[in-house]
Chain length 226, copies 2
């Protein structure tokens, strides 16, 4: 069973890369910088976006919101008066645990690319498959909460290796956890020494200006495409 | 692409159910109660097991440890002098984001079923696909950390619906979070009102005796098979 499955997955990934290239060409044609934002469930992707999106002065930003089911996150971000398009993987996509290029492609007619400088694609909460499926993005960013423990880079290396920026979130909890931040950073260095890292708290706002500035530079084309 | 993919996934799931039944027959033949333990990454599955496994007096317990990569969790549990068998999904299984029945079957020759009363299968950290693949278990349990937010039952309903027991972990953090426990429990009731729930802290030990007792009753065959 598994040998067949692996071959099928390889074929699906080839098709995915082809469609991802088409998405990228559309993004480039409109001059939109696209960020694929990934994390485990509950790490704080939406909370961080809610903190920074309305502070991106002069940047026209939109969100493509990937979820298995439900509209909670999309509603939360739409309340910031940011254009949000939702992809529910449970509708027509078999309840997939990740976004793929075709799902993003199917949503593009609803995304006002001509009116955007920056599109953030918020992926499904999962540390495995989202890292395997390019969707046409220029940049990959992940959020890792300190509540998840220090070992995540070693247990999910593909995800940490795929990202150029790691947002270490919920640092306001550090005094209340047995969490060794230096150990986490050593583990991150072991799998991806080149990843930029920012310590942030979506709850208190600590460090989120660094993420806001990174997004602004990205929208301006000032961050090298990964 | 997706119509084909969905059909393939349906075929794979049929094959999975067949192999899961064979696993279940082997577990039953040896009189071993089997628990499939699931959660998001970093919710605390291994920490909870480390708290309770050595307190299960008179219960012969083993662990089947599912990971994408690495031996951190297996080593941690083996140090408790519990027989641990590891399945790395990155080796021969394409880096899958979940365990399936065939992976478990391939590991069974290494599991001393004849010497066990209880086998805990610790799944890969993921709130989507592990709920879709039976592995032959009698019981499904999940861990949900309060650091993940109250909305998880609504966003990952299949997982919460699949489980008969939900361990709400890291309750020692409640004073430091903006987390509405009643809201979480209402969301849980909305998708699975029959799920038993226990408030626990693997860090302080609060409430973990309830999980220990549930495992002991399960090993004794005193918990109805799900």
């Amino acid at each position: 069973m598994h040998r067949t499955r692996v071959r099928i997955v390889a074929d699906v990934l080839d098709a995915n890369d082809t469609i991802a290239r088409a998405n990228r060409e559309d993004f480039d044609a409109h001059g939109v910088a696209v960020v694929n934002l990934m994390s485990a469930p509950g790490a704080g992707k939406t909370s961080l976006l809610a903190r920074v999106l309305h502070e991106l002065d002069g940047v026209r930003v939109g969100v493509l919101e990937g979820v298995v089911q439900g509209t909670l996150d999309a509603e939360r971000l739409a309340s910031l008066h940011v254009p949000v398009t939702q992809i529910e993987t449970s509708r027509g996509f078999g309840g997939e645990c990740h976004l793929d290029a075709n799902m993003v492609r199917s949503a593009l007619p609803e995304v006002p690319l001509g009116e955007l400088d920056l599109l953030v694609i918020e992926n499904v909460g999962n540390l495995v498959c989202p890292a395997e499926f390019k969707v046409g993005e220029h940049h990959r960013v992940m959020v890792c909460s300190v509540a998840e423990g220090e070992d995540k880079p070693l247990k999910y290396p593909l995800m940490f290796r795929a990202c150029e920026l790691v947002l270490v979130n919920k640092v306001d909890l550090l005094p209340h956890l047995e969490y060794d931040l230096d150990l986490f950073l050593r583990h991150l260095d072991a799998v991806n020494p080149h990843a930029e890292r920012l310590l942030v708290s979506a709850r208190t706002g600590e460090g989120v200006d660094g993420f806001r500035d990174w997004l602004a530079r990205t929208a301006a084309g000032a961050v090298a495409v990964g």
